[in-house]
Amino acid sequence: MDRIKKDFSTLTLVMIPVAIAINIAVGQSIYTLKIPLYLDSIGTVLVGVLAGPWAGAVTGLLTNLFWGLSGLNVQSAPFATVAAVIGALAGLFSDAGWLRAWWKVILAGLITGLVAAALSAPISAYVYGGVTGAGTDVGVAIFRGMGLNVLPASFAQGVSSDPLDKATTFLIVWLIVQALPLRFVMRFPRANNVKAA
């Protein structure tokens, strides 16, 4: 309990809205580049890495609820729990010291992507009939055409895009943490996870 209180320092509380805004702004501007990535969890992963799994989970949860309630991206709201798990995993990997070497960063991103795909598939299959309503549905169509059921086809689509997306996200977060001034990073509750003391 004490640990959680320490994680939610004033700096973390101020950081979380900024991180949510980063998620939304980057997520929307990536759209103009038409890259097959979402990159809508950079802020979530950043908070998870710097302020621990609980703060990361709150950031992810709030991002999707906001996106949903603001009417900008209503369809993302049911995936709020998945976003929370992504933030929590970022915190756990950072606790385990995986954010110190670039190849471990990529590995952590790939694993997070697999977990995210496994968690979103049932939600997508149940709420949205297994489709995403976007360009990635070509993937769903291919897997359905191969004779997969609704849930496996949705999972297969997730596996083909989420790990790459999350690995890129983790790598970008790692680059950002490297670029931030040490004085700033050290003010965060879990700064020692990312910088050698």
Partner: protein, 258 residues
């Protein structure tokens, strides 16, 4: 408060005057109905009997239906094409070239579309009729942690500004010759010059904000006074319990039908 991140529509209606917590309970009831009822038609009946009348009472029927359809349409289209035609096995209804529309796939697509309609419209109904600051005021009065309230209100104010900053960075980099169109490799190369400046510039003022709210007594223990008074009719607490009972009944009905 910036309105860009909210789709709230100011109207003089019975629904708008409801206490935000009561509206939240109603939206939760609709969401439960949307998730628990089985397909294919029960969802549409629920939508027509509960969601549409509630939207009508809030004078937002047009807005709600339009916004819901705009979100639901791409999903509905995909689900009909993919699940309707690519359903493995199943009873064919009619054939288009090598593909045929399957009865099971069609039933699944109708049910999914109904579920999307319900989920999307329950969120939209709530945000169209509730002012975000009223919701936050209510939640903090009910003992919701101030830290969480701060995060939500701050996001509402920051996010629209960030979107503006993101497009400013996009324009600035383009004017320096950054190519944001062309081959996939070229577009991928444009990724870092767009993302990194946005994130770094936004992190710079985080520390200043933290100091600013600390010096204004943010961490001070004890009760805080709210500037906005949110009225609640005396019958509303009882109504909320009634709605919750209805929600349980709908989930029960869904399990029994399914």
């Amino acid at each position: 408060m910036s309105e860009a991140l909210s789709i709230y529509v100011a109207r003089e209606s019975w629904v708008h005057r409801l206490y935000p917590l009561t509206k939240l309970t109603l939206a939760g009831f609709m969401l439960m109905g949307g998730l628990a009822l089985p397909g294919p038609w029960a969802l549409y009946i629920f939508w027509a009997l509960v969601t549409l009348p509630l939207a009508f009472l809030g004078h937002i029927l047009n807005r709600l239906v339009l916004a819901t359809l705009r979100v639901a349409f791409p999903f509905a289209l995909s689900v009909f094409l993919i699940q309707g035609f690519l359903w493995p096995g199943g009873t064919p209804l009619f054939a288009v070239g090598p593909l045929s529309l399957k009865q099971e796939g069609l039933a699944f697509a109708i049910a999914s579309t109904g579920r999307i309609l319900m989920v999307v419209s329950s969120f939209l109904w709530f945000s169209l009729t509730t002012r975000p600051d009223h919701l936050m005021g209510t939640l903090s009065q009910r003992g919701f942690p101030t830290g969480l309230s701060y995060m939500i209100v701050a996001t509402l104010q920051i996010a629209p500004r960030f979107q503006a900053r993101a497009s400013a960075i996009l324009d600035a980099q383009r004017s320096r010759g950054l190519e944001t169109e062309g081959s996939l490799r070229r577009r991928l190369k444009a990724l870092l010059p767009l993302v990194v400046p946005l994130v770094l510039s936004s992190l710079i003022d985080v520390e200043e904000r933290a100091l600013a709210i600390e010096t204004r007594g943010f961490n001070r223990p004890g009760e805080k006074t709210s500037l906005i008074a949110i009225p609640e009719a005396p019958w509303e607490p009882a109504a909320r319990i009634g709605i919750l009972i209805c929600a349980v009944l709908v989930v029960g009905l869904g399990l029994w039908l399914g």
